[in-house]
């Protein structure tokens, strides 16, 4: 076998590979989108994928598990919990189930994909909750963001791998686990228990001024900042005491990252309630200021009729 026949064989083999993968690429690019295809259809504007209305009388807890996209938790006027999912892509509708008195909401996988970037097809969800005191509010985010205003819960659990969580309201017990990302919580009442575990990321907690509490800070690295005038016992440098040795003992475990414990200013809650009203006016396809959002760039054949 001379070098010419080897070269010829290589040309044939690599041509087959090139043709095959070019075909696959073109199929992905222009293939008819359907539930069974590998590509999701894209809409010109953010479109409602699913809307569910549930009676809130038997629901006392919320468990939200979302991978990619924005979660908005808003107060509703009626007695129903209204869940609206929207996206620029034809993603799978979310799944919800009631386990006892817990309403579980999960984002569903958007079909079969062949690379980790597949979850780029995010979808947004708006959950309108009537004014109620929840037993548990549990949020698990892989990415994306969550905004919630004027919420009230006995137990708040926030677990994020990445992304951003911004909540305000009244929370009696707070547990927050961050791998990375950003968590901002404002509570109008002083929590009885606080447990924070951070691998990295940023967390800001605002609590009202009070008669005293203590923080046990277990820090490998990172930064802890606070408005409170803490006293530190030289023999126990990881215990921060505010005013008195109260029974309220908070625990913060940081591998790295940035944790802020701030005093909630009395005027802050009023300003936030305006934000609630404003955010309720947000329509699909419009930003917070009411400006129409530009549609994503599309191939001509991907545009919906």
């Amino acid at each position: 076998m001379n070098h010419k026949s080897i070269a010829l064989s290589a040309i044939i083999v690599w041509s087959i590979v090139a043709i095959l993968f070019t075909g696959i690429f073109i199929y992905f690019l222009v293939g008819r989108p359907s539930r069974f295809s590998l590509m999701s259809k894209r809409f010109d504007t953010e479109t409602i994928i699913e809307k569910k209305t549930l009676d809130s009388s038997d629901i006392h807890s919320l468990d939200i598990d979302w991978d990619a996209g924005q979660i908005q938790i808003l107060p509703s006027t009626g007695q129903d919990i209204i869940i609206t999912q929207s996206s620029y892509y034809q993603v799978e509708p979310f799944q919800s189930s009631i386990q006892g008195d817990i309403l579980e909401i999960h984002q569903t996988d958007s079909g079969f994909y062949i690379f980790p970037f597949s979850r780029f097809h995010s979808s947004n969800i708006t959950i309108e909750v009537p004014p109620m005191y929840l037993e548990t509010l549990q949020l698990s985010l892989t990415s994306g963001s969550c905004n919630g205003n004027d919420l009230a819960a006995e137990h708040l659990y926030v677990s994020i791998t990445s992304g951003r969580v911004t909540l305000n309201g009244r929370f009696q017990n707070i547990t927050s686990e961050l791998t990375s990302g950003n968590v901002s919580i404002e509570t109008n009442n002083l929590p009885d228990n606080l447990f924070v575990e951070m691998t990295s990321g940023d967390m800001a907690l605002k609590i009202p001024d009070n008669d005293g509490f203590q923080v046990k800070l277990d820090k490998t690295s990172g930064k802890f900042q606070s408005d409170f005038d803490f006293l530190v016992n030289p023999e126990q440098e990881d215990i921060y005491i505010y005013k008195s040795t109260s029974s309220r003992k908070y625990s913060v475990d940081m591998t790295s990252g940035h944790f802020e414990l701030r005093k909630l200013q009395p005027s802050h809650s009023k300003a936030k309630s305006n934000t609630v009203i404003k955010s309720r006016l947000i329509e699909i396809g419009y930003d917070r200021n009411g400006n129409k959002l530009p549609p994503p760039l599309l191939f001509p054949w991907q545009k919906t009729k």
């Binding site: 080897i6 070269a7 010829l8 090139a18 993968f21 994503p296």
Partner: protein, 79 residues
């Protein structure tokens, strides 16, 4: 014809080929990023790299095919 001509590639040709391949891959990466960002097709745009690698191998094989054959034993005896 000397024997060395078949055994090793001309250093200038080698340098030119290396520069060409470097430019080619830079172009491939740029195409991948532009297409992926603009059309948001990260979940399959990586196929571009397989296609590019196949194209590179085809071009190399064509180049190899066009190289003159090394002298046979008979050619050597004649010379």
């Amino acid at each position: 014809m000397s024997k060395d001509k078949y055994a090793t590639e001309d250093p200038r040709m080698k340098e030119a080929r290396s520069a060409l391949e470097g430019g080619f891959w830079l172009l491939v990466v740029a195409t991948y990023l532009i297409i992926s960002f603009v059309f948001r097709i990260w979940h399959f745009s990586w196929i571009i790299f397989i296609i590019a690698a196949a194209i590179q191998q085809i071009v190399r094989a064509i180049y190899l095919y066009k190289l003159p054959s090394p002298p046979t034993e008979e050619d050597r005896n004649e010379s």
